[in-house]
Amino acid sequence: MVETLEHSSPLQRKQSQGTVASLAAVNKSYGGVRALRGINFQVRAGEVVALLGPNGAGKTTAVKLLLGLLQPNGGKVRVFGGDPVNPENRMRTGAMLQVGRVPETLRVREHIDLFSSYYVNPMPCGEVLAVTGLEKLSDRKFGELSGGQKQRVLFALAICGNPDLLFLDEPTVGLDVEARRMLWDEIRQLVQRGKTVLLTTHYLQEADALADRVAVINKGEIVTEGTPAEIKAQTAGKKIRCITRLSFDVLRRIPGVMEVKHDREAVELHTAQAELAVRELLSRDSQLSGLEVSSAGLEEAFLALTQDGSRRGTESN
């Protein structure tokens, strides 16, 4: 393990400014449906970047293009400066995709053994099992595993070749909280070894927990890009709840207020600047009571970013 660390860090420093994978003005349509609309996106060496978006936003399509499983209708897809289908590139990438059925009669160890054999410098099987927490399950057949364990096997197959670049397509979809956290820990361990990771997710929380950089994608376009903190700042307003005599019309005209709604006997305001709104409220209604100010939830912030798009669009897988 120490060896791997020493081995990977000079490489990482050398590449730290480099673009490892990129989509440049890429279009992709299925039949008449445009899954990606002139998308520009880069993955830089050594970073963990999350493509965040609702179902059907085009996340899986982007990953499959970068893996060379799909060809774009327009634009350029590059991985390690070349075509993603190059065998040398495949040797340096690992992928965790959404799979309907994995051969169920093979044991965990056998799956790993087979995938490791595809790579020239694979991780030792014992190390893969240790990193993914599958040691005790290595003799189980795939079909006998729980959902979370199955995802960890797929993750193990993605990393067993000791790749420089890792694609994780919705790695924790459908997992319970505990299984999700476990996989997050494993992904973090990998990141510490200097791997570059592109993950897609529709959980803002997941992007926040793992990524250095987040690109929000919706309806085949990148809506915004930045650090998780920047993304949250862009969207995260405050929620003010209070009991007031003021009418909806008045409340709506308070500067910074984006939304007003009833919440039982009280009203709920969404605002970008809570301080300003609270000052206004108190000065206009001296009898105002039950004042609460809270952060808008992460998921709400994310919804605000992708709002009008989430309803239509195509299935991304």
């Binding site: 390690f80 309907g100 093979l106 995938f115 790579y119 070749g161 694609f167 897988n317």
Partner: protein, 271 residues
């Protein structure tokens, strides 16, 4: 973009021929293990020809002869063909259509696996199961049906039947590319069972109605079974080269169809 930096460990990622050979072996080994542990596969593919042989060749008609060839010997050729055909069709088509339709093949394609290793593993596995079936028939016939033949005849019969796995594996690949994961087993049975009957694998060819005899001439299992029967002295009057030619042509057509499916998959995306 530091593409120069990216190229730095390219030298170490070229595979040696031995390493490539090892991948083919591993792929075949695990494909075999996968099917061996699949009760659906072993139960239908292994047990049906063996059960039929025991029933019709050993229990019921063991003392009879068809055109001078004893029934237990005759039926090794026909149920052998039946078994080889089943092992090969199910071994290739159902796995391929489900791997394709349910995303597993994409995981493999995204890896550095040599694409041909995947198909080779399926064909090799089909041949191994074919060998197991034919040997089991021989063993039963030898032990309980008094089947005796010169070693050269045994080798010829075994070799012919196992080689006969190739056209049906090719057919399975073609079917695997043009059936869905759920419809594949039914589609295979729909082709496999009538074809077996019309080719005289269940009822000896000479007892088939005239119309079916005409149809049989275009069916690959008929030609494989005639080759096998020819070795034990019960073949039709046609030259064996004709049978081989038909099987070869059939194999090429199926591989062509499979290739169309393969290329279509490269361009298209599946769920």
């Amino acid at each position: 973009m530091s593409t120069a930096g990216m190229a730095l460990n390219n030298a170490s990622i070229v595979r040696s021929p031995q390493e490539t050979a090892k991948i083919y072996l591993q792929e075949a080994k695990y494909e075999f293990l996968k099917n061996l542990r699949l009760r659906m596969y072993t139960a239908s593919v292994l047990s049906f020809p063996i059960m039929f042989y025991v029933l019709f060749g050993l229990v019921l008609n063991a003392k009879e002869a068809i055109g001078g060839t004893r029934v237990p010997t005759y039926l090794i050729a026909t149920y052998g063909t039946f078994g080889v055909m089943g092992a090969s069709l199910f071994g290739t088509a159902s796995g391929l259509s489900s791997d394709r339709g349910l995303g597993w093949l994409q995981v493999k394609r995204a890896s550095p696996m040599p694409p041909f290793a995947y198909f080779a593993a399926k064909v090799i596995t089909s041949m191994i199961f074919s060998t197991i079936i034919v040997l089991a028939l021989f063993l039963l016939g030898f032990a309980a049906g008094g089947v005796r033949m010169p070693l050269s005849e045994f080798a010829g019969l075994l070799g012919t039947l196992v080689a006969g796995s190739l056209p049906f594996s090719a057919m399975g690949l073609a079917l695997g590319y043009f059936t869905g994961p759920n419809s594949a087993p039914a589609t295979i049975n729909l082709i496999y069972l009538p074809m077996s009957f019309c080719s005289g694998l269940w009822v000896p060819f000479m007892f088939l109605p005239k119309v079916l005899k005409q149809i049989a001439l275009v069916l690959p299992p008929y030609h494989l079974s005639q080759l096998a029967l020819g070795i034990v002295g019960a073949g039709s009057h046609q030259a064996s080269s004709t049978h081989w030619e038909v099987l070869l042509a059939f194999t090429m057509i199926c591989l062509g169809v499979a290739r169309i499916g393969f290329q279509r998959d490269q361009e298209k995306m599946y769920g």
